[in-house]
Symmetry: C2
Subunit: 242 residues, 2 copies
DNA sequence: CCTCTAGCTTGATCTAGATCAAGCAGGCGA
DNA sequence: TCGCCTGCTTGATCTAGATCAAGCTAGAGG
């Protein structure tokens, strides 16, 4: 244990969170997903790749609803160890906190769009609160799954599970099993370090696991981000879940 | 990895979930916590120690709101490895699922009381839904914390963190620091195996960590369930969080 | 075209925690 | 009172994954 050679900046308590220029693109409202009374609407915003939306310890003034793209939520230990605690995809909600400040940091993995709600507005509007909460249930389920991964799975099982997350409609509840095309081309959009911090491993172990999958002929990898899963069922069996 | 010598029963898909006799004690309503219109009220129920409330795969018909006691939520891998994914205390909500069946199993750790809501009722009543969802935020925060523990902490840090959870008002957000009595008597109410499955360790490693804490004079242990924390600040520093 | 750099891979070695194997303590029924 | 059983502790050994240490590769900039 005591992983992480890479040192991350210490948690910057309370300071400007947006390290990306936010031009006039605020309030590009009229998005497809939301349709609420004007006073309940949030601002739709665009964010570049690797933009920090907020940091652990910042005032938790805003709640985010991701329209498209991907965001990672992470926490740092004082000695620099990092754990990515959640990956947010389209529809996902984040920035909700039980305390007055954010309990984790949020960073975009790719270009993303999100509806940004004022926390106070969400707390007043039961309609909005309901919609956001409904999605939290899905995320809760995913968190439980991730706890199993972190607590009980081997390195190869973790990486296999990670790859399977990117294969739509397979491996989870109601998986149809092998039918038609049993291969799928996955775009990871995370560095090996980010994957390692998500899976509770080191960068070297992640790399070795990918190499092992390649050696076994289960995936083919080119350009690092592109993973061609050649046999979905075979990688699914390696996840340890079934 | 590949822990767990103890084998747990394979997931019993769809079968009577209550393995504890449920006598006439249903609907002991009029509990202190809830005050809703009659049609929105749930039944308040009592459960003995080590009672399964539901199993992974059962129809997710009910949502539970714990009044007092303690419940653990766990998931099993097909080969018998177990991970306790969440510990629920008074006020906690569980049994919410994004899919039609429960995604984990729930078992009481001690004698407990809970308000049992019909899922359909919760989905109709915005007042009730709001109240339950509000508590999920707290639990979300705790899950993130637990992901850090499972992904990045050493065995000693995990056990120290676990013990600190039982010390009220210390170690978390807004901890007042050392003042007055710096000791506290903790009642664990979990076996070493349950603790191990919660912390992603083996029973032996948990045992060794407790012994190490005792050897360092940080805790005193008698009757296994009783842990006297002699120096709260010292064990807090061992959690890795600060 | 070459060089630089960031991110990735691979090999060698080390170690925290798993596994294996006794032994201990306390509650309980006979 | 005596076994017996369940849960806990402790020691010896093993191993998955961390750590340390080179390379490798592809894109960027000159």
């Amino acid at each position: 244990m005591k992983a992480q050679t890479v040192q991350y900046a210490a948690i910057p308590q309370a300071q400007p969170s947006f390290d990306c220029p936010q031009p006039a693109s605020r309030a590009v409202r009229g998005g497809s997903v939301v349709s609420l009374r004007p006073e309940e609407e949030g601002h739709q915003q665009r964010f570049g790749q690797h933009v920090h939306l907020f940091c652990e310890g910042d005032d938790a003034k805003r709640i985010y609803e991701l329209i498209n793209g991907a965001v990672m939520l992470y926490k740092l230990l004082p000695d620099g160890r990092r754990q990515v605690v959640e990956l947010i995809g389209p529809g996902g909600v984040f920035g909700i906190s039980a305390i007055p400040v954010y309990e984790c940091s949020a960073e975009t993995l790719v270009f993303s769009q999100a509806v940004v709600h004022e926390r106070a507005v969400v707390e007043r509007s039961s309609e909005l609160f309901r919609r956001l909460s409904a999605h939290l249930q899905t995320q809760f389920c995913a968190m439980h799954e991730h706890a199993v991964l972190l607590g009980r799975k081997t390195a190869l099982e973790r990486v296999a599970s990670f790859v399977m997350h990117y294969v739509p409609g397979r491996g989870g509840y109601g998986c149809p099993g092998p039918r038609g095309d049993n291969s799928f081309n996955v775009k990871l959009s995370m560095t090996r370090q980010e994957i390692a911090d998500y899976l509770g491993l080191t960068i070297e172990t992640v790399s070795r696991a990918f190499s092992e999958l390649r050696r076994r002929g289960i995936v083919a990898i080119d350009r690092q981000e592109q993973v061609l899963v050649k046999d979905i069922c075979r990688i699914c069996k390696l996840t340890g879940t079934r």
